[in-house]
Symmetry: C2
Subunit: 374 residues, 2 copies
């Protein structure tokens, strides 16, 4: 049930079996460095999201570049990180149900683990399990700052939950989660900035209210790859959750910078390597990477450095390409790189990163938290 790696260390890139998830290590390392440099002069600390990579090896690289720990979305993801050597995890999500609450409390005995809340009943449950495990669990109240997903409304509803939390001996109020997911892919720079300015105002207003009631907020967590500079410079956010910056994808490549040009703070390091398995007509090629090799929720993948090829349709195990150049010599057996439409759910389809440097395979890293949905 664990798939075999499609490559061996030292192998030339063109011998990698396909479909394979390639990580260009030089581009990845440059992305790590760029983020560290970009926020070096701001007060924000980076706590990158491990839901993107699901790999403790990568988490530890991020921490070596200054990250204070990682975010996770699931307890099982957090377990994979802690057992892989990460000592500080924020579960940037609500955790519900007895089995998960026990695992959360157990994990919080083994590492620093924080969790988000937005419901009084869930807060009560967390307190009970924390007491049973003899821990004091740090919780962040999730605030809806515009994504309209989880989280209570800013202001009074946050205060009510904080008052509840601070009366419970098993819990410690650690701050707010104010992540604006919907803002990450607003294409226009100014509109994207305005969405975060609006979020900052909501947080500010809530912080004022909490302060008037004597509550301090050590952590204000939020920010994704699309908006990280805005949160970093906000003077309000203290932690940044960005995850995709290490890999990038087609979706993020559609964001625009302040001048209306393609936004290029980071570069593409993640690819799906695929083989042409059928070349039935001059204008059509079929590759071996379909819905089970890449996620199409954010649209079709791009074809890397091939303007003459367009990936137009994914079925379960096939990708259909239109060949725009009638003289294209693409043949059965040729291999090309695809740029995933959306990196996070694409990574979740694989057990291994094939790390390449130049034309050789240098590293094969396990995607330890692949499928960790619990």
């Amino acid at each position: 049930m664990i798939t075999r790696p499609p490559a061996e260390i030292g192998m030339p890139v063109e011998e990698i079996d396909t479909p394979a998830l390639l990580l260009d290590l030089e581009a990845f390392e440059r992305n790590l460095q760029r983020m560290a440099s970009a926020i070096a002069d701001t007060p924000i600390r980076l706590r990158p999201h491990a839901k993107t990579h699901k790999c403790p090896v990568i988490a530890l690289r991020q921490i070596a570049h200054g990250a204070v720990g990682v975010c996770c979305q699931k307890v099982s993801e957090a377990e994979a990180m802690v057992y892989g050597g990460v000592t500080d995890v924020l579960i940037s999500n609500e955790v519900v149900g007895t089995p998960k609450l026990h695992r959360l409390a157990s994990l919080a005995r083994q590492a620093r683990v924080m969790v988000c809340v937005d419901d009084p009943g869930n807060i009560t449950d967390l307190n009970e399990v924390a007491l049973a495990y003899k821990i004091r669990l740090s919780v962040l109240v999730e605030v809806n700052v515009g994504a309209n997903r989880c989280g209570v409304e800013p202001g009074e509803p946050v205060l009510q939950l904080v008052q509840h939390i601070t009366q419970l001996p098993g819990l410690r109020f650690a701050g707010l989660q104010a992540y604006h997911g919907a803002a990450q892919h607003i294409r226009d720079f100014v509109q994207r900035l305005e969405a975060i300015q609006s979020a900052v105002e909501k947080v500010d207003h809530t912080l004022d209210l909490l302060q008037r009631h004597g509550f301090s907020c050590p952590i204000i967590s939020g920010g994704g790859t699309g908006t990280y500079r805005f949160e970093a410079e906000s003077q309000v956010y203290t932690e940044l959750q960005a995850g995709s910056y290490i890999f990038m994808d087609m979706d993020y490549s559609r964001n625009l910078d302040v001048e209306g040009k393609p936004w290029q703070d980071f570069e593409q390091s993640l690819f799906v390597y695929t083989t042409v398995m059928s070349r039935p007509t001059p204008d059509r090629a079929v590759v071996d990477a379909g819905l089970k090799a890449l996620s199409v929720d954010a649209g079709m993948p791009g074809v890397y450095q091939r303007e003459d090829l367009e990936y137009v349709r994914a079925s379960d195990e096939h990708g259909k390409l239109v060949v725009h150049d009638p003289d294209c010599t693409l043949r059965v057996g040729d291999k090309i790189r695809l740029i995933p439409g959306h990196c996070d759910p694409t990574v979740n389809l694989y057990d291994w990163y094939i790390g390449i440097r130049g034309d050789r395979v240098e590293a094969i890293w396990p995607i330890t938290a692949r499928g960790a949905v619990l």
Copy 2:
């Protein structure tokens, strides 16, 4: 890297941790029986597609209900089936590249394994590896009967490949693959029928040509869950590749029958079980099953037996539901069943089926070929 099962055998259904892939065993067994009955009076034999379930336990149930073997899309999927006890596999796809050709030939020494071809160079490669492994490999020529994906055009192009194959000592010409994937989800009954009638004509015309040149075609393979009756009654097709009939999904539920009513040859047996993790406003609920728990390539999942709830948006680990009834009592911690938009890529996200009968967990089956893309 293998996830833990989210349940234990004997557990009440409502205690299953989420997200979980539920299989209603009674509905599944009725679907197995319905397909067997539906084709019992036709000459066609069922070779169901294992790309749907990726589970040898299910493959063996299908064989116990009369299937002659299974189809697979990948060599790694075929390996999982053969090592799980299946002795007859058609790889209903082209296999390209040295590592896969070796594994294919090796597997063909261990079980009956057939493969599809649509390219002269690939045929030459297959012959060479077959000779190296001292086997004679059965191949089907894939014909494009309307899906415009892989496969050569009907008629003369097929004849040319057959002439090539029959000159090679390592290969045996076993017949044609004429699968019309694009027809499966044509909603209108008559249009769906006409698509298959057109495919049948193309196959007929090709068979005539081959017969005039002295070539017989023992196998004509095709047909999916959406069109299986048409191929079964065609007097041309000999094997049926339908896979989804055991599970069903939202996509197939949109097909119409001859009277324009929802088509109901089979019933929904596969569900994603999910927990309400946030209930921030009266009209909104958030569940713990998003893009990593279900595939949205064919649209959003349905909510089973809950007309008052609508799953409107999937993000990586969240599903956003609109609550249409303002008096709805849905609470954090409540569990509901989702009907996957598309069963095959949803199954590929999980390591385990949680088989339920009535209100109890009866079986936990490994999805052995989960992630088998090579």
